[in-house]
């Protein structure tokens, strides 16, 4: 799972009003190189919750992202590269996602988060 997906996911356990962001507990992760596409990053920037991305990046040991970001920073090549690396090149292999409100753990196995809910959580 890439951090892009982590940034979109919210917990939908019954009764949870704000299931975002899921806390990322990463045990194992890998990096795969992907071609940088500035257009995509600009397009996605408005949809990304920056704080959650920066937080998740720190959870996988990547602290190069600034705490705050705004659209003017997209002109910087250096910023784009860091943004790209955090968003698309880090794959979390093992670990868990934890719902911020209910504390429910969604385990990540072999890079696939298990988001299945139990019957009493629907």
């Amino acid at each position: 799972m890439r951090l892009l997906t982590h940034n979109m996911l919210a917990s939908n356990v019954k009764g949870v009003t704000n299931g975002f962001p899921l806390r990322l507990e990463a045990e194992k992760w890998a990096e795969k190189e992907v071609e940088l596409n500035a257009d995509f990053l600009r397009h996605m920037f408005s949809k990304i919750e920056w704080k959650a991305l920066a937080g998740a990046a720190r959870a996988v040991g990547y602290g190069e992202l600034p705490d705050e970001a705004d659209a003017s920073m997209l002109d910087s090549e250096d910023f784009l590269r860091r943004f790209h690396h955090a968003l698309l090149e880090i794959h979390v292999e093992e670990g868990a996602l934890v719902c911020p409100e209910s504390g429910r753990r969604f385990p990540i196995n072999k890079g696939i988060p298990n988001m299945l809910l139990h019957e009493d959580e629907i």
Partner: protein, 289 residues
């Protein structure tokens, strides 16, 4: 072959053996690729070369996702079958995979996704596989969460095999209730094999952009698949018991006298012993009542 939906729940039906078919059968691969290409076409993403973030609901082994990747898009795949996802992992697909049940809602932030496709998956929602399953609630949860996570004006193209009219109507009703505009596009409506129904849904109020595209082959154009398949090489051709028979041509007045004389003449020429034509030949019987 009976419908897979009637055999077992999706997480059981798509076991390792079934999942393996999706990597080894070139026929399945080709069909899946063709359907997903068409779904992507129906999504009508703006043609500006910018990659988009798409959803693939019921991604299975990632065959449909591969088409999305080939077109440069990023995608997130949902599936309920761990075996299928394992195969997808083996194939090293480019998208991210989630083990999730679409009937429980997609669990995404609002307005983040640029489009969604789903290949032969949504009809599974119409079956209750567990006592806690209530198809209507599951359809509602699915379409509600899909509507929320799509950006304004984004489309969702769901290819599905509905068992009957009631089912497709039910799916359609819940899509409309969630707020979607759109309808069903049918490709190759006259072909039994190549017929594919796509539910094309648009987020937001109806406008000029939400008008439905036309299905392929609606005006009697032949599908390439039909032309390719030659019946001579097929050993078994009939799957359905209630396949319509060729209707006998019966007109109201029967064949008529002229036809009988003609036939008798033909038989005489062949040398058969045929009774002579008289005024009684092919005479109409009296109405007795």
């Amino acid at each position: 072959m009976p419908r897979p939906e009637l055999q077992a729940p999706p997480d059981i039906f798509y076991n390792e053996a079934e999942a393996r078919k999706y990597t080894t059968s070139s026929r399945i691969i080709e069909i899946q690729a063709r359907i997903s290409q068409r779904a992507l076409e129906l999504l009508a993403l703006p043609n500006d070369g910018v990659p988009r973030l798409l959803l693939d609901i019921g991604c299975g082994s990632g065959l449909s996702g591969e088409t999305l990747s080939e077109n440069g898009h990023h995608w997130i795949g949902y599936d309920i079958s761990p075996s299928m996802l394992d195969v997808a992992m083996e194939r090293e697909v480019d998208g991210d995979l989630l083990l999730a049940d679409m009937g429980q809602g997609l669990g995404l932030r609002p307005g983040v996704v640029d489009g969604a496709i789903s290949i032969s998956a949504v009809q599974w929602l119409c079956y209750a596989d567990k006592s806690s399953h209530e198809p209507r609630m599951r359809l509602k949860a699915f379409f509600g969460s899909l509507y929320r996570c799509l950006a304004r004006g984004a489309r969702a193209v769901l290819q599905l095999y509905a068992e009957n009219m009631d089912q497709s109507e039910m799916i359609m009703t819940y899509a409309m209730r969630a707020g979607f505009a759109g309808g069903i596009v049918v490709d190759w409506p006259h072909s039994s094999k190549a017929r594919k129904a796509y539910l094309v849904l648009t987020c937001g109020p109806p406008s000029a952009q939400t008008s439905l595209p036309k299905g392929k082959g609606e005006d009697g154009e032949m599908c390439s698949e039909d032309e390719e398949s030659d019946d001579e090489n097929q050993t078994v051709g009939i799957y359905e018991r209630n396949r319509p028979r060729k209707k006998l041509k019966i007109n109201k007045n029967g064949k008529g006298r002229g036809w009988v004389f003609k036939k008798k003449e033909q038989m005489r020429k062949k040398g058969y012993n045929v009774p002579p034509d008289t005024k009684y030949t092919a005479r109409k019987r009296k109405a007795h009542f």
